[in-house]
């Protein structure tokens, strides 16, 4: 008799505030478990795709409602598993349900289908047939929960919502850092599936690192959404690339999120910028993918003053709880490595660490633009590096060296339009979203949002936040001279209310 090695180590949940571990009753999914969950998703795929889009919208709304019903258990569990404060978790749940309902609204409208009709006609190249095109779901999607958003980027998060919205069943690999939250969220989504009569297998869950690998290797999985470290993402991407059938991998892998403060802005409003930056760097204990990691400040007195104010603001922030041991250790190591560099100086520290758990001290470091190479590693947590520079040319040259980021931010005064115009092309190459006189954290969930950027921020030409996130889980399909009865309803001549392009002309539906 052999023991299944996958069953030998039951999973535990750790409270990062105290380091206390408690058994979860959950186990690592065995290869058989994964195969069964994927088989369910595979069976569900054609049924979910065939549902009228209004019915899928109903399912998303029901999921939002079920999550709200589960609010108290979700909030308590997520707080215990992540160490994030109650207001943050409640805000995240609100964001999660808001985005499910936004996708529902978008699906009801149908613009994401890109429905396009070219009627038969004579062309300079001869008689052309009737061609109709729209986007259809890719099939079962694997979604990897993120450590830092136990709800909004995990089981019921943006990847799941956007994939389900298109008609793709989802199998989530729960993040080890918040297993019970994942399970509770999964149960809420399952209840919504039952409430609305959606297909069994619409949503599935697996646990453990090996299960994640088995998941992306399974030929029935047709797309992968991942939010996490560059190393973890690259490892998964390599597995995806070794599949017989390549599939899209949508990774969000880390970002430095540079912030540029111009001489005018440093002069005009150092207090406001210092306060805003301190909040943006230490909010959620700096564990946001859009946390500003580098702030470019000009040499000279106004810049000195800004750095001093930033240091004072961060010094007032108490020690913070990070999400798990691994992240806390990594934060400590990266901070030590940075401060051990000759060119890097510690400016200020927040509250000192007392007691158990994954608590760390917020930090402000500073260096000069010539030493930029030493500080290009993302430090996940409440740490920011101020980079001092000698003027516009040194600044532009430094910015040109940055790896791809999700965001780039500029604080500038109205009279600095010329300087700004010179910065924008450099920043556009460096990041997917440009923020003016604001802060990159607090990502608006809306139609126009873009949450993506050049590698290593993401490896895709798509967004993982906002309505366009659906495009990742769709592929085009065309019908040539099809009988009306065999066309999707959105491609029939008599369909009203869906934005379409007909014979080259956009119609708003």
């Amino acid at each position: 008799m052999t023991t299944d090695p996958h069953r030998t180590a039951p999973l535990v949940s750790t409270d990062p505030r105290t380091g206390t571990t408690t058994p979860t009753g959950l186990h690592r999914s065995s290869p058989k478990d994964v195969a069964r969950v994927v088989a369910d998703a595979h069976r569900a795929a054609p049924l979910l795709a065939a549902m009228h889009r209004h019915d899928r919208a109903t399912l998303l709304d029901a999921m939002a409602a079920r999550l709200e019903l589960a609010e108290s258990v979700l909030v308590t569990t997520a707080m215990t598993e992540t160490g994030l404060p109650e207001a943050r978790i409640r805000g995240e749940l609100a964001r999660t349900t808001f985005q499910l309902r936004l996708f529902a609204e978008a699906v009801r409208e149908g613009g994401h289908l890109e429905a396009t009709i070219d009627h038969a006609r004579d062309t300079p190249l001869g008689a052309a047939p009737d061609i109709r095109r729209m986007l259809i779901p890719l099939g079962p999607a694997a979604v990897f929960g993120a450590s830092n958003f136990p709800l909004a980027f995990s089981v019921p998060g943006g990847d799941t919502a956007s994939a389900l919205a298109t008609g793709c069943p989802v199998v989530v690999k729960a993040h080890d850092s918040h297993l019970l939250t994942s399970q509770a969220a999964y149960e809420a989504l399952r209840a919504a599936v039952a409430d609305t009569g959606a297909p069994e297998g619409t949503i599935g869950i697996v646990f453990g690192r090996e299960a994640g690998i088995a998941l992306v290797s399974d030929p029935r999985i047709k797309a992968v959404g991942f939010t996490g470290s560059p190393r973890g993402g690259r490892a998964l991407l390599d597995i995806v690339n070794s599949r017989e059938e390549p599939i899209p991998f949508y990774g969000e892998l880390g970002s430095l999120n540079p912030v540029v403060v111009t001489p005018g802005a440093a002069q005009a409003r150092p207090e406001a910028i210092a306060a805003g930056l301190a909040q943006s760097v230490t909010g959620s204990a700096g564990q946001l993918c859009t946390k500003p990691g580098l702030v470019f400040v000009p040499a000279g007195a106004p810049g000195d003053r800004l750095v001093e104010l930033l240091g004072s603001a961060v010094a007032e922030v108490p020690a913070q709880v990070l999400l798990n041991r691994h992240i806390a250790d990594s934060y400590a190591k990266t901070g030590e490595r940075l401060t051990a560099t000759d060119a890097v100086t510690a400016v200020a520290s927040g509250g000192a660490v007392h007691g158990e758990g994954c608590t760390v001290t917020p930090q402000v470091l500073t260096t000069d633009a010539d030493s930029l190479g030493a500080v290009l590693e993302e430090c996940f947590g409440p740490l920011v590096v101020v980079v001092r520079h000698d003027g516009d040319e040194a600044l532009r040259s430094a910015l040109a060296q940055l790896p791809g980021s999700l965001t780039a931010t500029v604080h500038a005064e109205p009279h600095e339009e010329e300087l700004l115009a010179g910065l924008v092309p450099v920043l556009t190459r460096a990041a997917g979203r440009l923020v003016f006189n604001g802060y990159p954290t607090g990502v608006r969930v809306s139609w126009a949002q873009h949450h993506g950027g050049p590698w290593p921020a993401t490896n895709s030409v798509h967004t993982s936040v906002g309505v366009f996130a659906m495009r990742r889980f769709l592929r085009p399909q065309a019908w040539q001279d099809a009988p009306t009865s065999l066309l999707p309803v959105e491609l029939r001549d008599d369909c009203a209310g869906v934005p379409r392009r007909v014979d080259g002309v956009m119609t708003s539906g």
Copy 2:
């Protein structure tokens, strides 16, 4: 002193009709040559991206005009290098200029930008900033010319046109099979660049296999378009995947293009279907990515009659010239391997081969659905395999085994709607375009076209033909609270005439 190995073997052009080779005066591009051409493209990228889209449309129109001016040399050269008949090459040139002008029209309209504006407002999640999003060019693109379309899928083809339309400079790796045609087309495009004052480096060209590898390995290249064999495509994809920065690879790698003839259709119009199929299989000597490779015909007398008629039609087709030695050898080998299989029977052959060159005989083979596994390899050239089956269930089970194709075709009668409705879901999983009572060859270039399909037909969720082909070379960018003067014109509040989504509502511009 060492000799540059890349310079030692001057390139020759071979006339596949005769096997005669002539020197081209062209050389394999050395690594230095490739680096220089890519550097030019890299320098051109921001300039091309910054051009007003109307000016880029003017460039595309100028390219079409310059190709028309070069018509006589292009047609003569392409005929000599490909063995394709004059009417086919003239038709292809017409298609090439038509598609350049269609992209110009689309770029003038601007719908491809997916311009989206969300004004600042209070939301259930708090005050939300102004966010504006549109698609911007990825940067220099590598395009691999295809053997079978010396114009429409090569230097001035759809990949080039769609990349340039978005504002991406293009470096083409010329196909070895039509070097002089590639060079002549390149010179026409260069002339259009000069005519319109577009940036130097907008279009570049390199020669030789090693140059192609150097091209996709260059970090300044941001996307790859490839049309060719699964083996060649997979090799390039592996190189792309080993880059430090992954980039999108848009491969079109082969397709079986199944055709289903229902019992009703076989009964009602065997002559027309046989004639249409024979034309579709042997047009361009069967060297089309959408050539029907498998035809599913029911057992019984009407099916027998259809096969007999198809055989007779193909028997009347003379021997045909294939594009090059490699393709002709591969056609011969695949044909021999298929006919050597016990379950496969030769039904008919076209004209016998006489004389020199890359001439081959068109062929019709037949097998039964149980032996489908033996005939799932694409045979590039004028060969079709008829698969006989015992009824709807056997048919659906056979279709479910097919690898992904660009197209799937059904011939059916109006009274067979139920049968058709059962087939459509299976065919939708098998192919990117469903054709009803027609033939998959002769791909319409239009807004609604989709030329793509599940792996190995393509590895992307995008099309390589039609207006949406532009989406492959674009990435989203967002601006948060940007001053109007720093926004692209298409995202300013006062911009008229561009289809946009404003605060969630589509407007036709």
